[in-house]
Amino acid sequence: MNAEAASLATPLIALVGNPNCGKTALFNLLTGSRQKVANYAGVTVERKEGSCYTPSGRRVRILDLPGAYSLEPRTPDEQITCDTLYGASHLEDRPDFVVAVCDANNLRQGLRLALAVRRLGCPMVVVLNMMDLARKRGLRIDVPRLARELGVTVVETVATRSGGARDLTHLLDGITAPASSAWRAPQVQSPADVETDHREVQRILRAIGADRVGLPESTLGIDRVVLHPVVGPVLLAATLFLMFQAVFAWAQAPMDIIQGAVAALGGWLTHALPATHMRSLLIDGVLAGTGSVIVFLPQIVILFFFILLLEDVGYLPRAAFMLDRLMGGVGLSGRSFIPLLSSFACAIPGIMATRTIRDPRDRLTTIMIAPLMTCSARLPVYALIIGAFIPNRKVWGGLELQGLVLFGLYVLGVAAAMLVAFVLRLPQRRHWHPLTLELPAYHAPSLRSLAIGLWHRVQIFLTRVGTIILSLMILLWFLSTYPAPPPGATGPAITYSIAGHIGAALAVVFGPIGFNWQISIALVPGLAAREVAVGALGTVYALSTANTDVASALTPLIGSSWGLPTALSLLAWYVFAPQCLSTLATVKRETNSWRYPLIMAAYLFALAYLASFVTYRVALAWSG
């Protein structure tokens, strides 16, 4: 049997379940690091596939399908899950076996989906996840009775504990090789089925004695504080504030190590290579460019550590709940919160997520303000400027001043988004419909899931540095090096290059807001991705000075060559300007028109220019 045939004979197991039922934690437990994360073609929905070895050493493929509440798709995520289970997906093989994951603490919703899956006639098992929490709450679920009532095998798991899926892996041992052809023709769920399922779930819950299950007392107790109308928002602000403090306070040591490594590599290359074009390309282009960006990896890891942690313990849905009233205040629906929250990672998935907003005007407004949320690509730019211009000292009894400024920039982005939404919705105000969210029980974070989540973020960042940023830095080096200066030239060679001429032309436009020609050049490749601007500054300054150590010392260099007004102006620019072309392309596709991306680009550039101009002029006047 060749490798391809062997791969085809490996059973495909699909994990299906509601969002927040611990399905991904179970997937991580089963597959460990043997997993591949990508996007489904056609939608921005994550596809996770991995492999797992059963106790007898047999390999099975595990597919983590997007969370769904029913098999009646209402979102792109649910569409993928349904198509895969119905065997109608041209992207995915029909699974040979389905694992329906239910949160043991929220059986009502989980069983509804499990019944819908059972109706498809596929070989399946029902997994009761988070059984440890259920036991702690005193829930007694009669598992053998549940299995009898459902007519399928039921096993218990604790996905956050090593060995917590032992029963499941033993069961997977017995799965026969691909048998999907034995499935009967899938049926489309009718409304009658939904009603029948509801009654059936009620009956089963009564039978197993779990019909009076709510959130655990401890969660309700914590929620009384966390969701308090006054204390809740204060707690949320404090949590976010501490998060940004940590980004600066904890990252310094690893950043110094990376910076030292980049400097050492630069020094070694300088001595090891003869003075050729290749050496200049490697040191001034590749190392100065990518080294300037990669140094911010620890800060990105810390930021995502907190975000993943808050998500894992169940706090983020509460944050959505608390901010819903604020959204209503500016004329947006609560449904806008999730896309806007997504935009803190990247505006593109945020804009894609607006598909769940039914009101077209709400959706358009959310799309228009999504780029104002501070995406993770801005962090290196903010960190560079803050590190260079804001003193690293404590204020107000021990708070990091740098973290305070970073927090302020994030708040400024949110405030600007709310203001723009308010203005856009002024012509047509409407009644606020509160958001209803499923609030999961609080639980201890899974270190394994946290580690895997962080590793994915590191991979994303390093892939960007090693692909798009690296290629743009090589191009920028070329544009900044050629043509060579004429004989007898006195200025730095870069001023005679193509990039130097472009920078000089752009400086006319950006001069009034305090940008020099180096910044103006960096803004151009920054259109591809915001963090490229940092790498571009590294390359441009490396070629502007005779100092060969510049690859590792961008922060002090800009600190000495820019004034504070210029730095503040650039920060203001990055809060507002739509530097990312990918975002505009996504808006074009989502709105099916060039009109809205053009309006977006125009209003954001105008806002950025105005904000930078005011900031620069006020700072100039203030500094005398």
Binding site: P19, N20, V37, A38, N39, A41, G42, V43, T44, V45, E46, G67, Y69, T75, D77, H90, T276, H277, M278, L281, F304, E311, L316, A320, G334, R335, I338, L341, S342, F344, C346, I348, P349, A353, T356, S376, L435, T436, L437, E438, H456, I460, T467, I468, L470, S471, L472, I474, L475, F478, A528, A529, C580, L581, S582, T583, A585, T586, K588, R589
Partner: protein, 77 residues
């Protein structure tokens, strides 16, 4: 010796030139329109005798970016 030096300089320029052109091609591919990327991927799949890839939505170099799922949350209304 002079000839060796000239050849070395020529090789230096050749390698750097190839790297710059390859970078320009890669950046053009990643930042270019999605339809162009799809066309290239389909031609490549044809050459290798693999199934043709379906249209992907990633815009401007965002294909396969798992950023999308970072904060994916579900509303239940």
């Amino acid at each position: 010796m002079e000839r060796l030096k000239a050849m070395s300089a020529w090789m230096d320029q050749l390698v750097v030139g190839v790297l710059v052109i390859a970078s320009a091609a890669f950046a053009g591919y990643r930042l270019g329109p999605a339809s162009m990327r799809l066309w290239i991927r389909r031609q490549w799949a044809r050459v290798r005798g693999k199934p043709l890839p379906a249209a992907n939505v990633g815009a401007g170099g965002c294909d396969d970016c798992p950023h999308a799922a970072t904060f994916r949350k579900r509303e239940n209304s």
